[in-house]
Each structure stands twice: as structure tokens, then as C-alpha cells.
């Protein structure tokens, strides 16, 4: 066997750690921005239609959510790929799974982006 591996494992190994750090920070911003309320003790923040509408109109939140969504999806689906890479041996099934991962990831990114913009 000669030649390089088709996939640079070192790159994706580092990529998973880098996006992991980004996700810890963005997840904290997301949770404290949308889901927690620390007034009068920790509890769920109460959802309101006005509050949600205001966030959908704020360009900073829109940008934040595009970054959060994209990072979450690439980290998540790269993780699923790692599982496929470990357990699926048959070349045909590996190809089907890889295409399935790309397809699902792209559809979800498109769907999420549509939610932010329209």
C-alpha cells in the first residue's frame, strides 16, 4: 500500500477540537441569551413572542446563529462520520453513509439558515 490516505485524519482531529472549543463558548452565549433567567434565582426564562421576534430582527443574533448552527452541524456530522469510519467496513455502505451525512448536514444547514432569514 502506497500513497496518502484519502482523508487527512490529523486535520479533522484538530478540527473537531477547535470547533468543540468554539461550541462551548457559543453554547454558553446561546443558553444565557435565550434559555436561562438569573433574576430571582436560576430558572427557565419565560418565552414571549415579542422577545423571539426581536431576536430574529437583530443582525448580531442572526450572525451569531449562523455561526452556531454551522459549527454545531460540522462538529456533529464529523462525529457521526467518525463513528461510520470506525464501524462500517463495506465500501458500499461507507459511501452510502458518507453521502447520507453530507445530504442531511446540508439540508439542516439550509433549513436553519432559512429559519434565520425567512
Amino acid at each position: 500500500m502506497t500513497g496518502r490516505a484519502k482523508r487527512s485524519y490529523t486535520f479533522w482531529w484538530f478540527f473537531q477540537r477547535f470547533t468543540g472549543v468554539v461550541l462551548v463558548v457559543t453554547l454558553l452565549v446561546h443558553m444565557f441569551g435565550q434559555h436561562f433567567s438569573l433574576e430571582s434565582g436560576p430558572h427557565r426564562s419565560h418565552l414571549s413572542l415579542d422577545g423571539i421576534a426581536a431576536r430574529f430582527e437583530n443582525p448580531w443574533w442572526m450572525l451569531f446563529y449562523l455561526v452556531f448552527l454551522f459549527t454545531g452541524l460540522v462538529h456533529g456530522f464529523n462525529g457521526v462520520y467518525n463513528v461510520v469510519d470506525d464501524y462500517i467496513r463495506s465500501p458500499g455502505w461507507r459511501m452510502i453513509c458518507t453521502w447520507g451525512i453530507w445530504f442531511t448536514g446540508i439540508v439542516l444547514f439550509f433549513w436553519g439558515t432559512m429559519t434565520v432569514f425567512a
Binding site: 477540537r17 423571539i52 462525529g79 457521526v80 436553519g112
Partner: protein, 139 residues
Amino acid sequence: MKPSVSTRNGMLWSYKWHLSMVNWLFHRISGLALIFYLTAHVFVVRGFKNAVLMRDAGQTEAAMQKFGSLAGALENPVFIIAEIFVLAAVLFHVFNGIRVMFVDFFNGARYEKALNITLWVAFLAILIPSGLLMLISIF
């Protein structure tokens, strides 16, 4: 090398079971679970956005109805109990991810036991009180 398919069960049970291995397994399971959660979460947010669009179109009553049914589903006890599992998955995945980076970047394998203890203490110290608060919120 024997094909893994026929020995998959054997492979699973021939693993040496120690805490770092359990962490690795939980990391995988929680990661796969979180991808399903993320998908569901995107759909819920889409529902809220639809309510916002209805409101902007002047259909105030339909918008409030749509919003109320979504917010009501999120306050359902079944949903809150499911959220406790989501919290557990997120916390474990985050803390174990940090542990993995210590091992990878700071030669943390030297402190394997201390890191494992820290991971489990931090995980349970946040999960138990938060989970209890969420459980109490049902009643």
C-alpha cells in the same frame, strides 16, 4: 485479521473496562443523541419563526395560538424530563471533550485518574442540582 462483523459482540466484550473507556463510550452515545436533539431544536425554532411571521402579517390571533401551542409543548412534563437527559448529554460531552483536550494537548495522560475524577465530579455537581430544579419546575 478477522472481519469485525462476525466478532462485533466479541470485540465489545473483550474491551478492557475502565473509566476512560466508559467516558469514550458515553462521549459517542451523547454525541449521537445531541445530533438528534439539534435536528429537533431547529424544527421547534422554525415553528416559533412561523408564529413571528404570522404576527408580522397581522394574523395576531393565529400567531398567539401557534406560539401558545409550541410554548405549551415545551412546558409538558414529558418534554422537561427529556430535557434533563439533553442536559446530561451536553454536560458530559462538554466536560469529557475538555478532558480529551487536556490529554491531547497538555500530555494529560499523566493525570488520567485525576482528570477522570474531576470530569465526573464536575458533571454530577452541575447535573444533580440543575436536574432537580428542572424536575421541581414540573410541579
